[in-house]
């Protein structure tokens, strides 16, 4: 929960939000290296920004920084944010599926991640901000600078596509 009346220290931000920032970038890009770079970059910008940050909606401020840093990174690398998962051709032609439930669990999450990466960026971002980062529609609207109605529509269309892809 954001404490709107206190300015957190950089360490607190890193501790409380670092992992979420990483996961936001990983789920959007499918690339662990980019995600790690992004997390570092965001924390750097936060560190610089905290100097002039005035107490307000901290989460909104943080997630705008995060989203902008992600888009900057994508533009810099001239890469569409649809990088394939590493090794995602694994398992083709291998032995029949293992009954091992750990395997099934990990594979399921990779299937979901693959499907996520096939969504258009706007839908994927909305779904990730909602279901990975856990923001409300209002917060997503503030982060992405779009109306709440657009948030609702993108999330819905993203989920419909996921439903088709996941069968």
């Amino acid at each position: 929960m954001s404490t709107d009346d206190a300015v957190p220290s950089w360490e607190e931000v890193a501790r409380r939000h670092g992992r979420k920032i990483y996961n936001f970038a990983y789920r959007l890009s499918g690339n662990p290296d980019d995600a790690a770079d992004l997390a570092q970059e965001v924390l750097l910008r936060v560190r610089r920004g905290l100097v002039t940050y005035t107490p307000g909606s901290f989460d909104g401020w943080l997630w705008r920084i995060t989203r902008n840093a992600f888009l900057d990174m994508v533009r810099r690398r001239q890469r569409r944010p649809t990088s394939p998962l590493p090794d995602d051709d694994r398992g083709v032609g291998s032995a029949s599926p293992s009954p091992d439930e750990v395997l099934a669990t990990i594979r399921l999450s990779e299937d979901t991640q693959s499907a996520l990466l096939k969504l258009p960026y706007d839908f994927r971002e909305a779904v990730v901000l909602c279901d990975v980062v856990g923001l409300t529609y209002e917060e997503i609207a503030a982060t992405a600078e779009i109306p709440v109605g657009t948030v609702r529509s993108r999330i819905h269309r993203g989920r419909k596509m996921l439903k088709e892809l996941l069968g």
Binding site: G18, S96, V102, L103, G134, H156, K163
Partner: protein, 149 residues
């Protein structure tokens, strides 16, 4: 002609983001519309698939950033969603959640399956080293999942 189907209202409803009036409308409509009931279940499954993605971090990330033991919570059926909103549970995949607990519990055991199954599992484990602890005091399973070398 029947009322228009609910469309994106269903997603908002699932996320607890529909207004009071909208919720009423949804409930009334669902009562008489099998197509929308089906869609609600499918949307909920897609939503659940993303919400149950494990929280990840690269090896060494926690040390670099926080120094604390990286532990993440995988939401189970009864645990709170990672947000401040009300959530509208619909036919939650309790079976899948239970399977996750079992699967997680199985990690520590060196199960020797057939050659193929064991190999595939090792390959997966190599990429996603999973450490598990289950705290009986919590309603959720704690998993640490680390990507890559």
């Amino acid at each position: 002609m029947s009322a228009a189907h609910l469309g994106e209202l269903l997603s908002a409803y699932l996320d607890g983001e529909a207004t009071g009036d909208e919720e009423e409308r949804v409930v009334l409509h669902l009562d008489g519309c099998g197509a929308c009931r089906d869609e609600l279940l499918e949307l909920d499954a897609a939503r659940a698939a993303v919400r149950s993605l494990p929280v990840l971090e690269p090896a060494g990330f926690a040390d670099k950033i926080t120094r604390e033991q990286p532990v993440v919570t995988v939401p189970l059926a009864s645990a709170a969603a990672p947000s401040r909103r009300r959530v509208r549970p619909v036919a939650w995949a309790a079976a899948a959640a239970a399977a996750l607990v079992l699967a997680v519990g199985g990690v520590g055991m060196a199960r020797s399956g057939t050659g193929g199954a064991a190999l595939e599992r090792d390959e997966m484990m190599g990429r996603h080293a999973v450490r598990v602890s289950v705290d009986p005091g919590l309603s959720a399973v704690q998993i640490v999942q680390v990507i890559g070398p």
